[in-house]
Symmetry: C2
Subunit: 373 residues, 2 copies
């Protein structure tokens, strides 16, 4: 059984060479290629060993890139004549997506030219193209999208998955989400042994749907092989809490929780702005408190945690928010850079393989016990 | 087909007499009976025509009530020797709950002594006791718990249901939730024709689970009979938004969304407090902005919207938050008072009955069309 850390030798990974190459889809975001290129320039300035393959309309991209000194000699433009829009159906893009910047972006990871792909485009289409081109990791049934969530934990963040790759998840899928989410938390948040919770409507063992009770037992049994500590059921209030580091749920529930949390945060921040604009005195107060308010804003700014990560494929894909501006794109690029640098993809693959083997051992043992009884 | 408003003659309802009688469970909340009695006193001062039947340990309650002048002559204590705890299983309470303050509280509504019941106790147990004593309204398959959610709408609130009565809901249940939630929004928020949305992971018609696609069609067809305007699918971000007034979902998803929203709001308000305590300057700023911050706090204070309402039973039950203090209890009592005063229970029953009849008509018509085709 594999119980060691994920810090195995991954010298062969693309990200461990002299520099990190990221594949970036320049099109398909709500703010167009200018925001993407501006984000790249910021990331390039922050990380001297990163370079980019940028996919999209060459005529539009060349002048944008040319204007950024930070990108000089570090950004190859790969022409793609077509764009996937937010309205395109994933099934259509999967069949007829060749020639789009999104397809081309994923292709660079498939061909090994780049370690991680980044796109602001249509989530469903991006997952569909990633699935068909990169294929699922051996042993993975359902890939998942993991997001980072502002939390009370010392790292400032929790990991939640799945937030929308698939609307369904059976108990074995939830165990794989736990294994993959824990690996992401080790590599993305630097936690040696992440605490994992299973999202439910109560913390008592008798609560919730049948598949959750089954998953509860599987996660408890699979914690050692997955190198995580299993905490049992958690509730919606624990997603931004400090009880666990990784929250596991199906993509339907996770997506609704994510958007509810974002919507609530936006409502409060708008109300806060209105409150400070209400009177002359409150405007002066806002000026005095500017530094404090900026600190608050930074802690809950959704742009800082921009980047859902697709887990469970033969390649890592970072999905940036469709409405991301330069700050948001730079955050997504930073996340992609960190994951590439840490050799995350190989570690994740190794962890999934060893957890799967441990699961088979356990299943074999269970059958044996069954025979003995 | 019934398309009129809910403002039918309900003169016979208990709440339309000279005064409103509410049945209140004094025990089972996290802060004990003192918080409940303090909340009653506030509500009694605000509403001169309300009186209470208070259920619980008489020896503990008598001195608490005796000390509150506002309650003099307006609060009958009904002794109940036992208390339902937060740890008790609903199934146990359902079988062996007689003699508890919760059981006694529901009994007063069943016997017609009081119009609405209020309890801070164990939600699952309260629903179980309510189900077994009050029984479901004719035609209702799954009762639901509706909550109010701070929103961008002019009323300041949206209605969401189910937030935890049942972890499952089929398409016809979701249609009933829409009908009941719209009736609640008319009577609780004063909206003539509430806009209803069905919670999903996207707004496109092809998205989501099979039962949601089916429910989407049923809600569109049932909008007229239910006297609501159907908006189609909405996302998590619309729960605090202004696109719809009523958000319909199953109790699993609704409960997780509710707790995620509460947890997120709590996280931000704690971060805000920390931000204002960070420096000397920020503390002065907080003092200057006190009125504005209080206004903000009031808009998002969960105690103001304290009270989930059980819909679909032969009697109205308000579930106050377990941790409610006097302010929270007073808010739950106020809600119960408003619903009693408006004759809500009879209106809801009439609406469910007429929507059910319209549904049968439509089904009959469908069968007829089927024959003609």
């Amino acid at each position: 059984m594999a119980t060691g850390s994920d810090l195995t030798d991954t010298g062969a990974a693309a990200g461990q060479g002299p520099g990190v190459v990221l594949s970036v889809d320049a099109m398909g975001g709500d703010r167009g290629p200018a925001a993407v290129v501006a984000g790249l320039a910021r990331a390039a300035a922050a990380h001297p060993d990163v370079s980019f393959i940028l996919h999209g309309d060459e005529a539009a991209l060349a002048p944008l890139v040319g204007r950024r000194r930070a990108l000089a000699g570090r950004c190859t433009i790969r022409h793609a004549p077509r764009v996937v829009t937010m309205e395109d159906r994933p099934s259509q893009v999967m069949r007829h997506g060749e020639g789009t910047s999104m397809w081309s972006c994923i292709e660079s990871v498939k061909q090994g030219e780049a370690t991680v792909a980044v796109s602001c485009g249509n989530t469903g289409a991006l997952m569909a193209v990633s699935m068909i081109r990169l294929r699922k990791l051996p042993g993975v049934n359902r890939p998942a999208i993991a997001c980072l969530w502002p939390s009370r934990n010392p790292t400032g963040f929790n990991v939640m998955l799945d937030v929308g790759a698939d609307i369904k998840a059976e108990a074995p899928d939830l165990l794989q989400y736990a294994t993959m989410g824990a690996s992401y938390a080790r590599n993305g948040l630097g936690l040696a042994r992440p605490r994992v919770g299973l999202l439910n409507v109560g913390t008592e063992e008798h609560k919730g749907r049948a598949e959750l009770k089954e998953a509860n037992e599987m996660l408890a049994a699979g914690a050692e092989a997955g190198n995580f500590s299993y905490h049992g059921f958690v509730e919606g209030g624990d997603i931004p809490g400090d009880r666990v580091d990784v929250i596991v749920t199906d993509g339907f529930t996770g997506n609704i929780a994510l958007k509810t949390g974002e919507g609530t945060a936006k409502l409060i921040s708008d109300f806060l702005r209105e409150a400070f604009n209400a009177t002359f005195l409150s405007k002066i107060a806002a000026l005095l408190a500017l530094t404090s308010l900026k600190r608050l804003q930074k802690r809950i700014d959704p742009r800082r945690v921009n980047g859902g990560v697709f887990l469970g494929l033969n390649g890592t894909v970072v999905k940036s928010h469709g409405a991301a501006d330069a700050t948001g794109v730079a955050a997504a690029i930073r996340l992609a850079y960190l994951l590439a640098k840490s050799g995350f993809q190989d570690r994740l693959a190794a962890r999934v393989a060893s957890a799967g083997a441990a699961g088979q051992d356990a299943a074999g043992l269970g059958a044996l016990n069954g025979n003995l009884e």
